[in-house]
């Protein structure tokens, strides 16, 4: 649902990157959800200084998420996203302008962004500034998957300001720091999620709509470094700190290792640990109805941590090119993410209906594993 605002487009501010076309397949499976994605991307230089890129992405979602309480039927939806980017290189500066549009039955999103990347101090330093503006229209499907009835609930406007600094430290070592401030205003909740509160009923709890603040500002800072190992390999480390006006604090730690073999293979391993504290208006079970001005029970705002282990293999089936292709590769990438919630309970599989019955608030804490698969073919020309 949320369109990713890619902060720092990969720029090497002295030559525009090579022409490239990718065909991409992805699958996410976990927590009762299955999402299959297909994508095609192509970028080409029109002149030495001017390049264009176009991307089309289609996502098919199916499944029943654990906290979707109001719908008995399975979710099924298709999301279509398209984007276009222009890149212009003048001396040591790269200017980029992009537009992205994402449409699904109950959510529309449009983003326009602009960035500037400047190479300086003998091309050892790169400074990037970027700005993006997103308009979202949020709706709710009150019908079923096969017989939809979408009611449009509101709009949200998001503005993102970001800056990045990348510095070559030695001939083996490059480091960087990014800062991104994002502010949103408008309808910011997920309409399908509800809060629950104790009410003395047979089930033990009643349901109500979430009430979110209509503004949100977040700040994220990421530091990262890449080091070249003498036998030809690369190790990357990164740390990101996130904080926002909703009380969420998130810490991300990631370590990557890349190992090539000759001109033909590249193996990559990835380990990531993420931990966040809950939003200050989040609760798994409120003591009574309307106990707070703002209430949420969205999984994304709970206290949680997750661990990702991933492996990626790239094989160059055309290592030296063929006709007008300079290189062709095929890549497979598999990740396993294990989610653990500290204050979000599994009320889909446990409650007064389970054997033995479980009282409201005593359900086990939710945890699940997800597998993410990617397969893509990349042609360089």
């Amino acid at each position: 649902m949320i369109a990713a605002l890619l902060l720092i487009r990969s720029t090497i501010a002295d030559v525009l990157p090579d022409n490239r076309a990718d065909v991409f397949y992805s699958k996410y499976s976990g927590g009762g959800m299955d999402i299959t994605g297909y994508s095609a991307t192509a970028r080409a230089k029109i002149t030495e200084n001017f390049a264009v890129e176009a991307n089309y992405f289609i996502d098919k979602v199916s499944g029943a998420s654990v906290d979707v309480l109001s719908q008995a039927s399975v979710i099924k939806d298709t999301r279509k996203q398209k984007s276009g980017t222009l890149e212009y290189l003048h001396d040591k500066t790269t200017y980029t302008a992009s537009y992205m549009s994402s449409v699904e039955r109950d959510y529309k999103s449009d983003t326009a962004s602009f960035s500037l990347s400047q190479s300086m101090f003998g091309d050892l330093t790169t400074v990037t500034l970027a700005f993006a503006n997103t308009h979202n229209t949020v709706g709710e499907n009150n019908g079923t998957a096969n017989d939809p009835n979408v009611a449009w609930l509101g709009h949200a406007l998001t503005r993102s300001y970001s800056g990045g600094l990348s510095q070559i430290i030695t001939k083996n070592f490059i480091a960087g720091v990014n800062l991104q401030v994002i502010t949103d205003a408008g309808y910011l909740a997920n309409p399908y999620r509800s809060v629950r509160f104790l009410d003395g009923s047979a089930r033990g709890y009643g349901l109500a709509s979430q009430v979110y603040p209509d503004t949100h500002t977040s700040t994220a800072v990421q530091v990262q470094a890449k080091y070249y190992l003498p036998y030809r390999a690369a190790v990357t480390g990164l740390y990101r700190y996130f904080t926002d006006t909703w009380g969420v604090v998130g810490n991300t730690y990631e370590l990557d290792y890349t190992h090539p073999i000759a001109n033909k293979w590249i193996f990559e391993g990835r380990a990531r640990y993420y931990k966040q504290s809950a939003a200050n208006f989040y609760s798994d079970l409120f003591p009574f109805a309307n106990s707070q001005n703002f209430t949420a029970r969205d999984q994304n705002l709970a206290a949680l941590d997750n661990i990702t282990l991933g492996a990626k293999v790239t094989y160059a089936f055309l290592p030296d090119g063929w006709k007008f292709f300079k290189r062709g590769t095929v890549t497979g990438d598999v990740s396993r993410i294990r989610f653990n919630y500290k204050d979000f309970r599994d009320i889909r599989d446990f409650g007064v209906f389970s054997l033995p019955p479980v009282a409201a608030g005593a359900e086990p804490l939710y945890e699940f594993s997800a597998m993410v698969y990617q397969l893509y073919v990349s042609m360089y020309f």
């Binding site: 002295d14 030559v15 090579d18 030495e48 001396d91 003998g122 030296d320």
Partner: protein
Amino acid sequence: MLRSSTLLKRCAMAAIVVASTAFAASSDASGPAPAFTLTTLGGQPSGLSAYKGQVVMVNFWATWCGPCQQEMPLLDQMYKKYKPAGFTLIGVNVDKEAPPVKLLLERKPVSFPVLLDPANQVSKAYHVDEMPSSVIIDRKGQIRYIHRGYKPGDENDYQDRIRQLIRE
């Protein structure tokens, strides 16, 4: 906040002063061309002294440098065209190891001499500050022009300078 705006002002002033030389790809230069002796891929020693009395272009390139590879075929054409008039092009390769250079030249051969500078001594002596760089030296052994970088169309600039020096 205040410190960064002062730094920006100072950078802007320095930039305006340096702008004319920094932004122009090809600039006038002067001074005697430092002598050097390097080996060819075949292991034979060779150097600038072998081409005394000729107009020489020393082109610094690497297998990992995209624009360098883009200009190689054009440099080859230029070498063949002006060689009879007393011009030589020396390709000084800065790769740390020879095998990738050999592989590249087997697939895309050139007719001008290629010398290897893995210790980067010659690159340092010529103050190479951009890849690729082409240093044009006159018949008397004096450096006359330095061309930094390569963009399609720069070969016309090279030819103009070379023709001018050949006529001298």
